[in-house]
């Protein structure tokens, strides 16, 4: 449990701690009250829970005792010994209580019995021989121990034995069965009574320990019986009364077992059901929460039943709210494992409950809820004053949202089930919306920020088709009425803007603001508002410090960057697109970085625990960014940048790659022994790149934009047509540049008109591109205005000259290296080696000179 709360949302820890806190608080108050032997009805009822530690301790003891008795029956001495030691420890633990309450009778009884039993065994030589070694050893140890131990309780044991001896019956049998015998002994004689006295003493404690409410409630009607317990000596009188309470007694005995069987009898017949009773009952149920062996499903049902009862009896909304809170909390509790997700029926129930709770909250303005309302200052029943209920609806809803994510993560995304589950998203959003309204009027700013973020998280990744349509001005007459109604809602952009700005202004935790900014950027980018998105990204300075954020935020950041890159691409900002996508794509782990799946090859590197954590971080399928689209966008932008660059720097020795990944793809393409028509997206891009290298824009275009690529990639954009047009234009421009770079050496002059025809670009565009190239000194040429031609200067070095230059550079490096060897040796070691170098060098310079001379001949 604690682990869960440590890692899970804090909402839960609130819930649970409210339940857990009871124990320590209770201890404090219990002993202030003079409860020791004289618990009367008044003291008992309201402070029922306060007896908890006592009960708990005694329950522990009785449980152990039971085991010991069982072990005694089967003569399992080692078990006996083990349990006895446990018992001893448990007894020490409850020392404080024992000091107050006196040594419990059942404990003394056990000690006495055990000693007798051991002695008896000890005498039985035959039996001892039959025992196995372990048991025999345990027997002697135990015997010694108990002898020593019992010295502390000598007087008590003596008095107990006295009572025992007063009856002549053999009691060992009864003792073994005393748990059962207690209730059916009304016709029995006195000696039975003596036994039932003891068991009565025990059962009193028993009943306290049991979490059974029924028992407790029943108890109230058994005053007489209770008194009897207080006065143990009045044995005979009690016997008859015991008979009266027979039915109750029957129930009581079962206190230790789970509550399920008592379900139909929440309250005994005829009880006046008022809020105090219901609250008490509720607390009782909650006591069992988180304990081992508690049937969680049953608990949920119990709570439901309780809410039904309180509804029937009109106990007021306060209680109902309280119960609802607890139902939801128990629903969340149902799975102890953090990785497990809710069952569909649980989930449905949970949604309903939250809906109902919200209904109540909306209907009743006088209910105050909050996690900071102390347990004792709660006001559940008194309807004149405003209700005060402890609990936080926000955390519940947040948890619900997380559960929803978990369900989506754990559903196969390609199944109908996923679609069905996804339909619940509407409800989740609805709940969040309602809570948002509620908190806007009642909650603190922090709470509002939190719920805003939830709202944002459910909005940012969705493309607002309505707004898109509206912006295109299409919604007019062709749309049906329903569509129009739909489109009347607020644009998601406006909502995002409003919510995010509120968070920017009011939020004090960094995380919420960061998330909000990222979502805002994502939303902008998704809707092609490139400049807003970019400015927001730059203003937030997230790029500098995102590495300090926690992984989910980093995933969100990666998603945002990718979306930003894709947006830039749609807008035709190829360079920006490339830069934004570079980080994600170059690692080759885009899938992992976006939280859209785990990479297989990393399996060895992480253990099961890490894998679980990573799995929990995965983004649900419906929020995924298409990886193929992402890669295609990246590769195409890399192509548009890289191919002209490669053409321009063909002979540059120190040419750097713009995109490693793109080069990798090119190399893969080259390695293919047989080049068929492209199949995959990558092959298409590679084929297009090859065409572009030759300046063949038509082929390039046909490779990038065709049926296959449309269906794979381009149709996924909302403004498909615009993107395609942009792409064609970019391809034409870049092909023109590539063409000029590659073939300028062949031309003396080119007519711009020819170029504009070749690349189907308007003359001014061609003019501007060439001018830009000339200005950037990429193209050594000048424009001849009257004839509209480009006159090449032919000053670029030929390939031979380029090579000679490269060689000269390399030789420079060689000489430098050689000098270094020289420096080290300081001329001491001047042998064959250096001479050779210099000769080679001299010859090379000779050659270069001759080369230069030759050139001058032309």
């Amino acid at each position: 449990m604690s682990r869960f709360f440590a890692t899970g949302s804090d909402s839960e820890s609130e819930e649970s701690s409210s339940a857990d806190e009871i124990t320590p608080k209770a201890t404090g108050t219990t002993f202030n009250k003079p409860t020791s032997g004289l618990r009367n009805k008044e003291a008992f009822t309201p402070n029922l829970i306060l007896c908890c530690p006592l009960r708990f301790r005694f329950e522990e003891l009785t449980n152990i005792i039971k085991t010991i008795r069982n072990a005694m029956k089967i003569r399992d001495m080692s078990k006996c010994l083990e349990e006895f030691e446990q018992l001893y420890r448990a007894f020490l633990k409850s020392k404080t209580i024992v000091d107050k309450e006196g040594v419990p009778q059942f404990y003394i009884r056990l000690l006495a019995d055990l000693e007798d039993y051991l002695n008896q065994l000890w005498e039985d030589k035959e039996g001892k021989k039959k025992m196995n070694k372990n048991n025999a050893k345990a027997l002697s140890t135990l015997r010694q121990k108990i002898r020593k131990y019992n010295k502390d309780f000598e007087t008590e044991i003596a008095s107990y034995k006295e009572v025992l001896n007063s009856s002549t019956n053999v009691i060992s049998l009864c003792r073994c069965q005393d748990e059962e015998s207690e209730s059916d002994d009304d016709e029995d004689s006195e000696d039975w009574g003596s036994d039932s006295v003891d068991s009565g003493g025990e059962s009193e404690d028993n009943e306290g320990a049991a979490a059974s409410l029924a028992v407790v409630f029943l108890k109230k009607y058994k005053d007489g019986r209770r008194k009897r317990h207080k006065k143990i000596e009045q044995v005979e009188e009690e016997v008859d009364e015991d008979g009266e309470a027979e039915e109750g007694g029957w129930e009581k005995v079962k206190g230790g077992v789970p509550l399920v069987k008592e379900k139909p009898k929440m309250f005994a017949k005829g009880t006046e059901i008022n809020s105090a009773v219901v609250i008490k009952k509720l607390t009782e149920i909650l006591q069992a929460r988180g304990k081992k062996g508690t049937d969680r499903a049953a608990q949920i049902e119990l709570l439901h039943a309780l809410s039904g009862i309180s509804n029937e009896n009109n106990l007021g909304q306060g209680i109902l709210v309280k119960i609802k809170f607890n139902i939801i909390a128990s629903l969340y509790d149902y799975n102890t494992n953090l990785a497990a997700f809710m069952k569909p029926e649980m989930w449905k129930k949970c949604l309903e409950c939250i809906d109902e709770l919200l209904d109540i909250l909306f209907e009743n303005n006088n209910i105050f809820i909050g996690e900071n309302i102390a347990e004792d200052s709660e006001n559940l029943a008194i309807s004149d004053q405003p209700f005060r209920v402890r609990g936080c609806i926000l955390t519940l809803v947040e948890r619900m949202d997380e559960e929803f994510t978990k369900i989506m993560q754990n559903t196969d995304p390609h199944s109908q089930e996923y679609v069905d589950n996804l339909k619940d998203e509407g409800r989740v959003c609805g709940i969040i919306d309602r809570l948002l309204q509620y908190l806007e009027s009642k909650g603190s700013t922090e709470e509002v920020c939190r719920i805003y973020l939830r709202r944002i998280m459910h909005t940012y990744y969705k493309f607002d088709y309505k707004a898109h349509r509206r912006s295109l001005g299409l919604q007019g007459e062709t749309k049906s009425e329903q569509d129009q109604e739909e489109s009347e809602g607020e644009d998601s952009a406006i909502i995002m803007d409003r919510l995010c700005k509120f968070i920017y202004a009011k939020d004090r935790t960094d995380r919420i603001r960061t998330c909000a900014i990222l979502c805002h950027i994502y939303h902008h980018a998704l809707h092609s508002r490139w400049y807003q998105a970019r400015d927001l990204m730059l203003m937030s300075h997230l790029q500098d410090n995102i590495q300090h954020a926690d992984p989910p935020v980093q995933i969100l950041y990666n998603r945002t960057m990718v979306q930003l890159g894709i947006c830039a691409f749609r807008q035709g900002m190829i360079k920006d697109a490339h830069n934004a996508l570079l980080d994600i794509q170059s690692s080759g782990r885009a899938k992992e970085l976006l939280g859209q799946g785990l990479l297989m090859r990393n399996m060895q590197e992480r253990n099961a625990e890490q894998e679980k954590i990573e799995k929990r971080r995965q983004v649900p399928f419906h929020m995924h960014i298409n990886l193929e689209l992402l890669e295609c966008v990246y590769l195409v932008s890399a192509m548009l940048l890289e191919i002209p660059y490669m053409a321009a720097h063909e002979f540059d020795a120190r040419r750097r790659m713009i995109s490693k990944q793109f080069h990798h793809q090119l190399r893969v393409g080259e390695r293919q022994p047989l080049l068929g028509p492209p199949e995959s997206m990558r092959e298409h891009v590679v084929a297009a790149s090859k065409a572009m290298k030759m300046g063949d824009w038509r082929t390039c275009h046909s490779f990038i934009i065709n049926e296959k690529m449309n269906s794979k990639v381009w149709d996924l954009f909302p403004e498909t047509q615009c993107v395609r047009e942009m792409l064609v234009r970019k391809i034409q421009e870049e092909s023109l540049r590539t063409y000029l770079f590659t073939y300028s050496s062949v031309y003396d002059s080119i007519s711009m008109e020819t170029l504009s025809e070749m690349f189907e670009l308007e003359l001014p565009t061609v003019h501007s591109i060439i001018s830009k190239m000339i200005i950037n000194e990429e193209l050594m040429a000048s424009l001849d205005q009257p004839t509209q031609t480009v006159v090449m200067h032919r000053t670029e070095p030929t390939s031979l000259q380029n090579m000679a230059l490269q060689l000269a550079e390399k030789l420079g490096g060689l000489v430098e290296n050689n000098e270094r060897v020289f420096d080290l040796k300081q001329g001491v070691y001047g042998g064959y080696f250096n001479r050779g170098q210099y000769l080679a060098k001299i010859q090379l310079f000779e050659y270069l000179e001759s080369e230069g001379a030759k050139k001058s001949q032309y």
């Binding site: 090579m803 060689l814 060897v821 064959y832 080696f833 050779g836 010859q843 000779e846 001759s850 030759k854």
Partner: protein, 346 residues
């Protein structure tokens, strides 16, 4: 590049008898090489038929040593064999060939081997090892290097090389460390010696050639006047650049070695000094000095990089440079001539 044909000891023995009358074996045994036209043609034909691009063809030379000249009278090609036929026995093949040739009364004495080259790149470890084993077994052996590209440009390029005695010694000792090479005082320029070649034909063939020369048209000789140069130069430059890169790497390696060595020397010195100081202190205190430890064990000298490869690379670079120089000077001449012609005609 695969190893050349294997020299056969059996043939060496037979050669010794025949060449016993020749020059003393201590001096350079071969001053001149006389090659039959037949051998040249056979080598050219071999390359034409089997060698493509940068692939190398090899074969065995047969002949006799007459006084201080080596007469190469016949040759046979070595088959290109791939990795697939492992069971191909080279020695067996050579023996068979020579035996068969002997039956038809052809010189069957092994005097060396030939190899084609691609843009003058032949100075390699493989060639060195192969030629070493030849010269080790048969002192007069030569390696003929045939450059088909230059030949295609109009001038037959066939060169005979031998390892210098110095290099032979080093190879024998297999000491390629920097010190060893330094001691031997060997540089890349004295690794190989070129032996002059004379091509000798029978009178009848000479007559035929003269006859053919008269008949041949001017156009057949035009390739000699080809002015284009950049292709050849580019290729040569590319190869040269690769070698320079290799050289650079080697120097880098050597550099780190030197640095490590000097660093260790320093450490060693420091250690010795400290030890000495300690000892003097101990002596003044009257204690026995510390025992001398084996310092060479404590400071293991770093592994020196073998320098032979560097030497070979340098030789190869030299070779390229020579080739380029030759080529460019020829081309320059041609260009001047063309310019003069142009000026004359216009």
């Amino acid at each position: 590049m695969c190893f050349g044909p294997f020299p056969l000891h059996q043939t060496m023995a037979s050669r010794k008898e025949s060449a016993a009358s020749g020059s003393s074996p201590l001096e350079t045994p071969v001053k001149q090489i006389q090659i039959d036209g037949l051998v040249v043609l056979k080598i050219i034909k071999h390359y034409q038929e089997e060698g493509q691009g940068s692939e190398v063809v090899q074969g065995v030379l047969l002949g006799l040593v007459v006084e201080d000249s080596l007469e190469i009278t016949n040759c046979f090609p070595f088959p290109q064999h791939t990795e697939d036929d492992v069971d191909f026995d080279e020695v067996q093949y050579q023996m068979e060939m020579m035996r068969s040739l002997r039956h038809v009364n052809i010189d069957h004495l092994h005097v060396g081997w030939y190899q084609s080259t691609h843009y003058g790149s032949f100075v390699s470890r493989a060639l060195l090892d192969s030629q070493f084993s030849y010269q080790h077994a048969i002192e007069e052996s030569v390696v003929l290097i045939y450059d088909p590209i230059k030949t295609a440009q109009g001038s037959l390029c066939l060169k005979a090389y031998r390892l210098t005695p110095k290099l032979m010694e080093i190879c024998k000792e297999k000491d390629f460390s920097p010190e060893g090479l330094k001691k031997a005082c060997i540089g890349f320029e004295i690794m190989f010696e070129e032996v002059p070649i004379v091509i000798k034909n029978s009178h009848l063939i000479n007559v035929l050639l003269l006859d053919l020369q008269e008949k041949s048209t001017v156009a057949d000789k035009h390739e000699l006047l080809n002015l284009s140069s950049s292709n050849h130069l580019e290729k040569s430059l590319q190869l040269l650049m690769d070698r320079v890169d290799d050289m650079n790497q080697d120097i880098g390696k050597y550099n780190t070695y030197c640095r490590n060595l000097s660093k260790q020397q320093q450490q060693k010195q420091q250690y010795l000094q400290r030890r000495q100081q300690e000892n003097t202190q101990r002596q003044s205190r009257g204690e026995p000095p510390l025992p001398e430890e084996d310092i060479s064990k404590m400071f293991k000298p770093p592994q020196a990089p073998p320098r032979m490869d560097t030497l070979l690379i340098a030789g190869q670079v030299n070779n390229y440079c020579q080739n380029i120089k030759e080529f460019t000077s020829q081309n320059l001449g041609k260009l001047f001539m063309a310019e003069a012609l142009q000026g004359h005609s216009s």
